[in-house]
């Protein structure tokens, strides 16, 4: 496992001449593994929250593959996903839904994992297109993953190559039903099976130069 030089522990001399130690992985990241977050104590409150979560889906604006091109029309007058309470957020901190749009190369998988881990619980993953289910047309490619479910907890798949924007809209409606029924617990599933997910991720990402959990 090779570590980038800028991530190594080292001594740094500040502009005022004071020397101090920098350990990027420990200083810039939190190493605490994810924990299972319980639902709200009262069922009525949790139901209210689930309703709000389903009606206010913020998608992380991160197109991981060619399927990203099917998400853009959703913002345009023809499909206008905003009227369903769906918005795109540019930062993982504020997003709730991660759409893995199409094939995921191992290089992008690394970024996808980091983005997913920076999202806040509860968070949902939708696999878009057949590539996320079984590799699709990349089934024998050396540098794409075949089953997204091995690496991130997927709540819903939208099949097709490519699925039309209408299919995405229908998928989002199904996602809403799942969330409202309290079945969107992917974040907790990820925390429970953390070791298994990490082992799978590390099996395909050979240059693992980040902490095991990015907050």
């Amino acid at each position: 496992m090779s570590m980038k030089p800028e991530l190594m522990k080292r001594m740094v001399k500040g502009p005022d001449g004071v020397e101090f130690e920098v350990e990027p992985l420990r200083d810039y990241y939190c190493e605490a593994p994810p924990t299972v977050m319980p639902a709200a104590y009262s069922k009525i409150v949790e139901d209210l929250f689930n309703w709000a979560r389903s009606e206010s889906i913020w998608i992380l604006g991160f197109g991981t593959g060619c399927g990203a091109i099917e998400m853009r029309p959703l913002m345009t007058p023809r499909f206008d996903a905003y009227r369903y309470g769906i918005q795109w957020r540019p930062t993982p901190r504020q997003a709730n839904l991660f759409v893995i749009s199409g094939y995921l190369s191992t290089k992008t998988l690394k970024r996808a994992i980091r983005s997913y881990e920076q999202m806040q619980n509860p968070k949902y993953v939708i696999g878009l297109g057949s590539c996320t289910i079984n590799g699709g047309m990349y089934w024998d490619s050396y540098n794409t993953i075949k089953r997204l479910d091995d690496y991130l907890p997927v709540d819903l798949y939208i099949t097709g190559c490519m699925p039309r924007p209408e299919a995405l809209l229908a998928g989002f409606q199904d996602m809403k039903k799942l969330i409202r029924a309290g079945k969107g617990e992917g974040a907790n599933q990820y925390a429970e099976n953390f070791a298994w997910y990490k082992a799978n991720q590390k099996r395909v990402i050979h240059d693992w130069d980040m902490p095991d959990y990015n907050w």
């Binding site: 939190c30 977050m37 209210l48 709000a52 009606e55 206010s56 007058p77 930062t91 806040q120």
Partner: protein, 301 residues
């Protein structure tokens, strides 16, 4: 003067009305923007749902004390702006906690939230937040200049720093409004207004397509929900000041709703017509077009 304790629940009632009006107004303006682009736009109650959702998130991360205080400062900037300014003129219930020198305090509160955000976003340690707040503060300063000049001009014109007195001087017909008695100051202030409403062409600071998404990059869950609450209060509070200073104030809630909507619509109107400025372009624009008008208005007075 003895303090009238009954003012506190009345002020809270004003706050409650303004929060709800602000949420609906924000959504309405967004809908109008969407309709211009031939879209349906968000449902009118969407902002409430987003708020519940954000409060309902299970996890949140802190980056330190200032990170907590940033949204708190921001919210108190909006609330402070609102409660120290008379919302409804000549109303015992909704004059809030206004006092003789409230104009100066209001000017301070306009800036307060942004400064709080600067500290909070700075502590988040995210480079996008730091660069975003730098750009935001530079643009905000440039936009505040014409507004500040216009305020001085109005204060000179009426020889008072009390917003209530300024509104009182404008009563008795539409021609008594500052809009007609001091058009230069109003023009300068309305140009500055565009810059502080975070709508195009001056929304490069928080635009998702630019350095994403500026100051609130690291803010999420309850922090973000507090800032959303402020986004409902602050524009309305700011417009209340404009309404009081330049457009004759409001003597009842329907007039208030109409005037605030129309002033807000001005920024939305400009926003859908003109494309986005970069920060240095917008600063140059304010300094060239708005500030001289403000200086001129003071000279004329």
């Amino acid at each position: 003067m003895p303090f009238d304790w009954m003012k506190i629940p009345y002020t809270l009632l004003t706050l409650f009305i303004v929060i709800n009006y602000g949420f609906l107004l924000n959504a309405l303006i967004q809908k109008i923007g969407a309709r211009v682009g031939r879209r349906h736009g968000i449902p009118i109650w969407q902002n409430y749902i987003d708020l519940i959702k954000n409060y309902g998130l299970r996890s949140s991360i802190s980056h330190g004390v200032m990170f907590y205080l940033g949204p708190v400062f921001r919210l108190s900037g909006g609330v402070g702006l609102l409660i120290f300014v008379p919302t409804i003129y000549a109303s015992d219930m909704f004059s809030n906690l206004s006092f003789a020198g409230d104009l100066i305090l209001a000017l301070y509160f306009v800036f307060f939230g942004t400064l709080g955000m600067a500290l909070g976003a700075g502590e988040s340690g995210h480079p996008h937040a730091a660069i975003g707040i730098t750009r935001g503060l530079s643009q905000m300063t440039a936009a505040e200049l014409p507004f500040g000049l216009a305020v001085f001009s109005v204060a000179l014109q009426y020889q008072t720093l009390s917003i209530t007195a300024i509104v009182a001087a404008q009563q008795g017909g539409i021609l008594n409004w500052t809009l007609f008695t001091n058009p230069l100051a109003v023009t300068a202030a309305m140009l500055g207004f565009l810059g502080s409403m975070m709508r195009p062409p001056f929304d490069v600071v928080i635009a998702p397509q630019e350095i994403p998404i500026g100051p609130p990059t690291e803010y999420h869950s309850s922090y973000l929900a507090m800032m959303q609450t402020n986004r409902a209060i602050f524009p309305v509070a700011k417009i209340v000041i404009y309404m009081n200073l330049f457009f004759g104030g409001a003597s009842d809630w329907p007039t208030f709703a109409l005037k605030v909507f129309l002033i807000y619509l001005w920024s939305a109107f400009v926003g859908v017509v003109f494309p986005r400025f970069r920060v240095e372009q917008s600063i140059r624009w304010f300094l060239i077009w708005a500030v001289p008008l403000g200086v001129l208005s003071i000279l004329v007075v």
